[in-house]
């Protein structure tokens, strides 16, 4: 299968801290990858390198045949293809939901406002929030804000969606509505990288689970295998920890 994202011997340091230690990873088109691991293991750093929110010091990352950390790369073009959803949503508080979603299509893709708004409404329907198009982020619940953030990412028609703990900042009763939206995305064939500890989500839709610890990929496997029969001790103790929570 065609590779959408490829990490080749990637290393990254923060000062002396070796946050990414020889990462090799291939994600094919349409694949859903779940990344988990203890706090500080480098999960966020790993996916933030994919759209070059972070620099790397060694190795290479290739997205859709584009070397991401190459000097000559067209970053705008690269980022058009990659939607990013943050743990803390990061909606623009001074703009309405519709303005949040149309900002990039109008200014980056140079789409007409009318067309951008039509697409925005389409994406809002997809996340079940057509009635909130005129609301400000501050007037929405956490779950609603995160669904708007997903719609904002989708409005650029990306080929890849990256999620960094999209449900960790949410009250438990809102986690389901966000995961449902993500599950629907999977059925549309979107390539997805999701940092999450939601085992239910992983078992239901993930093609593979990657377990990280101290900057390394320690274990990779099918979700059922990984969660029910982890091969390494570190993964086993991690899984028992998230089960007791």
């Amino acid at each position: 299968m065609e590779n959408m994202i490829e990490f080749k011997n990637v290393h990254k340091w923060y000062g002396k801290l070796h946050v990414l230690n020889d990462i090799n990873l291939e994600i094919s088109r349409g694949e859903v990858l779940v990344i988990c691991g203890p706090s500080g293991s480098g999960k966020s750093t790993l996916i933030r390198c994919i759209n070059r929110l972070e620099e790397i010091q060694k190795g290479e990352i290739v997205v859709n045949n584009t070397p991401v950390h190459d000097k000559t790369v067209n970053l705008t073009r690269l980022r058009e293809d990659i939607g990013f959803v943050f743990q803390q949503f990061h909606l623009y508080p001074h703009m309405t939901v519709l303005q949040n979603i149309t900002l990039a299509p109008v200014n980056v893709k140079k789409m007409s406002r009318k067309k951008a708004e039509a697409i925005a409404m389409e994406k809002l329907e997809q996340v079940g929030l057509t009635d909130k198009s005129g609301a400000y982020p501050g007037q929405l619940s956490g779950g609603q804000q995160q669904r708007v953030a997903i719609a904002r990412g989708l409005a650029m028609s990306p080929e890849i969606m990256l999620f960094d703990e999209p449900t960790s900042a949410l009250d438990p009763e809102m986690i389901g509505e966000v995961l449902d939206v993500m599950v629907n995305l999977v059925s549309e064939g979107m390539t997805m990288c999701v940092v999450t500890h939601e085992m239910g989500f992983a078992k239901k839709v993930a093609d593979r689970v990657v377990f990280m610890d101290e900057g390394k990929i320690v274990e990779t496997g099918k979700p059922d295998e990984f969660f029910d029969n982890p091969k390494t001790e570190r993964a086993e103790s991690f899984i028992s920890m998230i089960l007791t929570h």
């Binding site: 970053l75 705008t76 990659i82 990061h90 508080p93 900002l103 980056v108 501050g138 904002r152």
Partner: protein
């Protein structure tokens, strides 16, 4: 005490005070407008990654903030002619106020920009917006809300600082008080009137600050 207070003289000198008030008002408006432009440019240089812009901006801001305004005024007043630049005192004064407030305004704007959550920037970067677009659509609109009150505070400071221009004989409000004092030896009446007019300007600016704060603070997220 109050019986000795000579209101008649104040009225006699009222035209002089009003001329001074008008001058102070005009000097302040022009200086604030110029200082705002200077501040915006200095701030843009200060936060720029390019060293040729960043370091001169830091030098300018630090020199201004570490020296008294009166010294800066004298420096320009005596220094410019030796460089062959001969301009009227009032222009020297406006230049000094502009450079002085510009440095403080640069720092006020920078603080406003820094107050915007890093995540806002990352959301903008991730969606492909370039530097100018991120500034224009995401950062500056949010920075504005927290920047307006201290900017008006700086404007109030500038109005009061303009009193120092009397020392290079610019015919502004404080200078009117000095003139009346030297002609009639009534410093109490003179500077009571001067103070009164400064207070009037202050309360107008303060009302403006409070009004703008209500109008311009944006809805909080989350």
């Amino acid at each position: 005490m109050l019986a000795d207070f000579n209101f008649r003289v104040i009225f006699e000198y009222l035209p002089l005070f009003l001329t001074g008030l008008r001058a102070t008002f005009l000097i302040s408006i022009v200086s604030i407008a110029l200082a705002l432009c200077t501040g915006i440019i200095a701030c843009a240089c200060r936060i720029s990654p390019a060293r040729v812009l960043k370091y001169p901006a830091i030098a300018y801001i630090e020199i201004i903030r570490s020296t008294p305004l009166l010294v800066q005024i004298y420096f320009l007043y005596f220094g410019l002619p030796t460089l062959g630049v001969r301009i009227p005192e009032i222009q020297t004064g406006i230049l000094a106020l502009m450079l002085n407030s510009g440095a403080y305004i640069a720092e006020i704007i920078r603080a406003g920009i820094n107050s915007v959550d890093e995540g806002q920037l990352e959301a903008g970067i991730s969606s492909g917006l370039n530097y100018v677009q991120r500034m224009r659509f995401i950062i500056l609109p949010q920075a504005l809300g927290v920047t307006i009150p201290p900017l008006l505070g700086q404007a109030i400071v500038l109005v009061k600082d303009s009193a120092l221009l009397s020392l290079i004989s610019v015919a502004e409000l404080t200078r009117s008080g000095q003139l009346m004092t030297s002609e009639r030896f009534m410093p109490t009446e003179a500077f009571f009137t001067v103070a009164f007019f400064y207070m009037c300007i202050y309360f107008v600016l303060k009302a403006l600050a409070e009004w703008s704060q209500k109008k311009l603070i944006f809805r909080e997220a989350y």
